[in-house]
Symmetry: C2
Subunit: 436 residues, 2 copies
């Protein structure tokens, strides 16, 4: 812990005559503060967290520059496409159910329940999953969690030994890196094809005896890609082959918070149909616009090897990670809303508005099949430079490098239609300047 | 990952004639399942999680035996003192506030907010903390969390480097061990004195350059002890001395979910008065009986060295651990209830009922000053044997060994008065049998 020991240094009196350590300690024993530590010399936060803070300082800087622009030009004149925060309110049915649940003071309904969640909630989720999976999912296969972020951490903690690797098709939501590091796992990004579909040969080439899982996200953040049944079956074949070769299962973890946000008749295949050693994780953050309520779940494929131990592992991890259980009130709300969603046609309209505008200005992109992101190529390799140029037009986007997809940028179109419409001339001007 | 490699073993046909690996893999490539893995040979959950599941199997066994007894004798004839789950409902004011908040559909109120929480909520918490601390706590010092379990994980992740040690006065809530292991920290239990007060000399002797923090819990689970200002100041003196010696702050983390559950005029000193390098973590699980809602907070002492970096670390950890933020709806509820609690006199009555009964039967215990636990000595060293004897009387308690306090047992008296009254003859019979 001690990077630079000051133990041998002499005490020097401070201006009140008390002994003070050089770069040293904060109280005189009575609890009164003397002086702060020197950041360079001592640990306050851990080394890893200090590095993370420094690494993410560019995000904060970007965020602050955006805020400065909003202050200077007025929020309505800054076009903020940087955050994946749904701009639609939860559907009307949500409010009715919430008020009813709030009024319904069942004994103990705000207290502890089994760490996996209320049995009725888990049964309702299982019934819903059985509408697009082999109808064998039971309440015991479901662990209610603090959103998809909670579900992913629970699954990763349950399966990862230190140093084991998780393959992630890139570009991807880089928060996955943090989730892996929480449990001493190692991300192994494998680039997708030009249309953002899975490159199963490249995945196969990356599998080693350290590979514990493949983590996919469909519909994808940041690309909007939906993986079809054919490519998922090809992936399952690769994983089955290597699992046999290595004598252990390689898991498939499918993160699906955008499952219901799809367009043009596209559907997301049920992963449990495709590969037995699979988990599904999801939340109600996007399809019901409940991101702040932290409600989601992890589901274990009923065909998984030794599913009982794995389920026990998930329940244990939900507890010991400090989540304990998913928030009780939302567990009572969501069984009534499993087949509901916000009006997806509103997102489709935003997608079309943006994509038509970008195409007219010469942007090169794959039209998203789902989620509310588009991930165009930047016309120069330095995506940060192009994003900075857009910012000069008061258009806020995120460099693709932040998603392990350099040479691109992410535009989150979960914003008012007017924001899209008013931003298009700026998009066009910047493209004109850089286009060869 | 591979503990026993089967890669060189020959394929043997299964009864369908397909090649199957010995102890091997689950699909035939089309996704159909062949046979489960052999648990002894391959990893499903990680090694650590498998060990944890096995370690905690005695708890499950105890729990199952309790359930069997309830099924056999009727739940009303089994006296379950094993769980710290408040039996009182939230105060009436909670229901009124919850309904109002549920009806009040502010735009975005269920969506993402800053990872630290709604600014108004954090300000209300700061104002409350300033009623028993130096009045310098600001909204920026507060991070709203998923209960105290979430708060502890956030603080520990923010400060711990791998292998660093946290001193914990024992007996203690052993879930702390899991929380430390999540972040590669190492627990260093230090026994308290006979009356469960802090042994500051023993703590001082245990501090090394690996010591990162001391973690206290007052009122204490499992003992009901409240640390007084004198012993806390002595502890602060020890930590100040060693922090100076080592040139780095040793943090004090104070876990206070039972702060409002105190008896006989006892009060819990504000830790920010006592030691600058301190965190307070707490929840509304016990004093408002909201354990299932996962709402609490971590507070940084406004006098802490480099508090800005530490606060940034907490916010980052709240995000990257997958909590993201505390549940939004409860963040809007609790500002109205910071000065509320369940009726503490009901818990005091339960304490007195139980303590008088135990004393009359010759049990040896320190009368708890707070929380809803009593931690008597068992009249024989093998606490598990004594707990098993009580179970024969349909009285369910937990061996002190489960709290790093062997030779004791924990009785959680957050149960109906009738449970206490009806259990006392059984407590007496078992004591008579074992008393020398």
């Amino acid at each position: 812990m001690v990077e630079i020991s000051a133990a041998a240094a002499p005490l020097t009196p401070d201006r009140n005559g008390r002994g003070v350590f050089p770069g040293g300690i904060g109280t005189d024993g009575s609890g009164a503060r003397i002086q702060p530590y020197h950041k360079e010399l001592v640990m306050t936060v851990s080394r890893k967290i200090r590095e993370s803070i420094e690494r993410s300082s560019w995000i904060r800087k970007m965020f602050e520059e955006g805020n400065e622009r909003k202050a200077r030009y007025g929020a309505e004149n800054v076009f903020d496409f940087s955050l994946g925060n749904p701009n639609l309110e939860p559907p009307p049915a949500f409010r009715q159910v919430l008020i009813k649940v709030a009024q319904d003071a069942l004994p103990g309904c705000h207290g502890y329940m089994p760490n996996a969640g209320f049995p009725e909630t888990r049964q309702a989720v299982a019934d819903y999953l059985n509408t697009f999976n082999p109808p064998r999912v039971t309440a015991d296969d479901i662990v209610m969690t603090s959103g998809a972020g909670g579900a992913l951490n629970v699954v990763l903690k349950a399966i990862l030994n230190p140093g084991e690797e998780v393959i992630i098709p890139s570009p991807y939501f880089v928060e996955y890196n943090n989730y892996l590091e929480n449990h001493q796992g190692v991300p192994r990004p494998v680039p997708t094809k030009a249309d953002f579909s899975l490159d199963c040969d490249a995945i196969s080439d990356t599998i080693t005896e350290k590979t514990r899982a493949v983590l996919i996200d469909s519909p994808n953040n940041p690309t909007g890609k939906v993986y079809g049944e054919t490519e998922l079956k090809e992936l399952a074949g690769v994983l089955t082959h290597h699992s046999r070769r290595l004598g252990e299962p390689i898991y498939l973890v499918s993160d699906e918070p955008y499952r219901k946000i799809v367009y043009d008749g596209v559907t997301v295949p049920g992963i449990f149909n495709v590969y037995p050693e699979s988990f599904m994780v999801t939340s109600f953050s996007k399809d019901l616009s409940l991101a702040g309520e932290r409600i989601g779940y992890a589901a274990v494929n009923p065909d998984m090897s030794d599913r009982e131990e794995v389920r026990g592992g998930l329940v244990l991890c939900n507890r010991i990670l400090g989540y304990v259980n998913a928030p009780a009130i939302m567990q009572r709300v969501i069984p009534h809303l499993l087949r509901e969603s916000v009006d997806i046609s509103l997102y489709r309209h935003k997608r079309d508005l943006l994509c038509e505008g970008l195409a007219a200005s010469g942007y090169d992109f794959v039209k998203p099949q789902g989620a509310f992101y588009v991930f165009p190529r930047t016309p120069l390799p330095d995506d940060a430079e192009f994003v900075a140029a857009l910012r000069e037009e008061n258009i806020l986007t995120v460099p693709g490098s932040g998603f392990a997809g350099p040479g691109h940028m992410r535009i989150a179109y979960c914003v008012p239609d007017e924001t899209i419409e008013k931003s298009l001339p700026g998009f066009e001007r910047v493209m004109k300047r850089y286009r060869k």
